[in-house]
Symmetry: C2
Subunit: 409 residues, 2 copies
């Protein structure tokens, strides 16, 4: 019989969000009268309309495909030049990132999982705790870990604790690791990393010949001018870091699907015999063999995010969501809860009221306030005792959540 990949059997319970979905479905089935007033602040999914500039660009691209003379079939696997150039010129202006360093995809979740294809066995891999579960689960699936324990921690991974004490930016590890996942602004804690903190990580990576996988999917939400928007603002990062970006949260592309990876020429890995190999060359080969490019109308939509009209609309969306975050922060603070994040990120990270675990708080919010949040422990053992509220919602819903929180606690 064909052998399956046994590593899949090490995976715990199921990805966090399907489990939340299961509990919410069971609740709404038992409480049909409350379903219409349920407010979802769980999964970090945008709620507002797609920017007009993006719509127009997508309409135009569909029309192009509808005409024989302007029809386009297979595009370049790495993405169209028009989009790669728009990204380099706008998202990385002044950072010496070229169009050739950009690999366009159908989203960051895919990219952060697929990137493991090009790495070998035997790397020591570090993740933060709490962590976006995809980083961990994809390492489990590909065989980079041993078994998981009762806290969901897997043998073989190095967990870097993110706590209130270290402002949710992990301390540089004493051991040598080869690959490090960092995500700032952070999902789930909403923390941002300072220039000094990132410089320390880049220095560590250069000293240890490590590679940083830097997830900057939430960079658009940074409000503080001192907080770096890209890892490439840090001296030396072009020699040790890849950066993952997405149009999901700024342009509202969670259903449209587009993201990209930045891979400078100067990042290298090593073969078993110690030969240095360009990471970009490997990813380019992986992309041309296993991918056929993102959808053409989607790439035109993404390009429009960088038009003047698109930029203005994205700025308004960010302002809206960050206004929500401020309201949620204030409401939780006024209730005497310890509140983190929500200032440079669309997530507010809150310590549970005394005596409540993360899932206790999830169940309490669901059954007593009719609000879906995300339990912190779903992101890792160090997330226990916290919950995450997503600021992706209408203003009216966020105001209602603030009211319900006050009534509940």
């Amino acid at each position: 019989m064909a052998r399956i990949n046994d590593n899949f059997l090490k995976l715990k319970a199921g990805y966090l969000f399907p489990e939340i979905g299961r509990r919410v479905a069971a609740y709404t089935e038992a409480n049909a009268d409350k379903a219409s007033t349920l407010i979802r602040c769980g999964i970090g999914d945008v709620t507002e309309a797609l920017p007009k500039a993006v719509q127009e660009a997508m309409h135009k691209a569909v029309d192009e495909l509808g005409c024989r003379d302007t029809f386009r079939g297979y595009g370049p696997e790495q993405g169209y030049g028009f989009l790669r150039e728009a990204i380099a010129d706008n998202a990385f202006a002044g950072l010496d990132i070229s169009a050739d360093d950009i690999f366009v995809s159908d989203g960051s979740k895919c990219d952060t999982g697929n990137i493991l294809d090009i790495f070998g066995k035997g790397n020591t891999i570090a993740v933060t705790d709490p962590v976006y579960p995809v980083y961990v689960d994809t390492n489990v699936m590909i065989g980079n870990t041993g078994e998981g324990d009762e806290n969901g921690r897997y043998e073989g991974l190095v967990y870097l604790a993110c706590t209130a004490e270290n402002d949710f930016v992990p301390a540089i590890p004493k051991e040598k690791v080869d690959i490090i996942y960092l995500c700032y602004p952070n999902n789930p804690t909403g923390a941002s990393a300072t220039r000094e903190q990132l410089q320390a990580w880049v220095d560590y990576a250069l000293k240890n010949d490590a590679i940083i996988l830097y997830d900057a999917a939430y960079e658009a939400f940074i409000q503080d001018a001192d907080v770096p928007k890209s890892i490439y603002e840090i001296e030396g990062a072009k020699e040790c870091a890849l950066e993952f970006r997405s149009f999901s949260k700024n342009g509202g592309f969670t259903g449209v699907r587009c993201g990209y990876i930045v891979i400078p020429d100067s990042v290298f890995g090593s073969t078993a015999t110690g030969e240095k190999i360009s990471i970009k060359q490997l990813w380019s080969r992986r992309t041309s063999t296993k991918f056929n490019g993102a959808s053409y109308p989607v790439q035109r939509g993404a390009e429009a995010v960088f038009s003047d009209a698109g930029k203005a609309e994205v700025a308004a969306l960010v302002e809206h969501y960050m206004g929500n975050a401020a309201l949620l922060r204030t409401a939780c603070t006024e209730l005497g809860l310890k509140v983190f994040g929500g200032e440079n990120a669309p997530y507010v990270w809150v310590a549970c009221p005394a005596g409540l675990s993360s899932w206790d708080m999830f169940d309490k919010m669901l059954s007593e306030a009719n609000v879906v949040i995300t339990p912190g422990s779903g992101f890792g053992a160090a997330g226990e005792g916290y919950f995450r509220i997503s600021a992706f919602n209408s203003r009216a819903n966020v105001e209602e959540v603030c009211k319900r929180l006050k009534a509940l606690l």
Copy 2:
């Protein structure tokens, strides 16, 4: 230093189509005067406009995303119910395939590569020769092979020769294999498999507990009512086969991007300890962890392929391309060449004139006829001495290719 996946270094020269692209670019640079009359019959990329029904559905979906009340963010990773149901009801009517068996993706190239994530090490894997290069290269990349030889054959793979003698449908192997890639209508040979031939393969798979990965990306081009359009028309296939389908060639989605895999509940693999595990369960987990669903407007476009208007337009496109194939067949036959395929597939597979290798013929056609074809040897050692002409083109271009062939030979 982070270790790379050394298997990538086993890959030969580069994927076939980039190599063709390189030669064509060098030629057009040296012969700028001929660039405007160059005719491309190389890569199997559609040329005609996207069906109106698809355009309308995509426009409507973009408008939905442009309105807060009808906005959709993250969709189900496995695809929207509306599309999975349309596929089950239309593409598999009467075959007892349910919406739940369908996993929608951004294309078949991705699917045929990604499916290897869920299989383990130690499987004996069979591919045809000639073969769609993605099957081989993705097995190399994931470590399922040894080194390649000078013919591009990799140690550890079982190659099933497809020759004029066996009508390009391989004989059942004497040895036991665990996973078999079959593609009918075939890329590159244009051959189709009869019911009896497929039944023999399914019987072999059931007897040997093997899994068939059946690529039916070209099923829309089948003209002969006796040729099976799906592997599930074959008794027993639901216990041993996955089927890969695409909207690329019927709906003209090569730039729009949508495909799907069919995985019935009754296909199983085995763990190291012999436990039977559902392939669907594994793929579902892989999909929810490493994918975020195909683009919503794209899924609405794909749904429209099954509308009455969409079906009529697809039928007209197929008739157009198959009319091209008939002209190419006739022209080559009249020149005394041995001609295969092109009757149930949009590819015509032709034996090279005596004394010419596949790449000789490629270079001759490029430099003397200003026409791009695909060298058969690019698909495997058994493809040497053949070339493939794609029927995806305008009628005028195909007529011109026929003229130039006659002038050349």
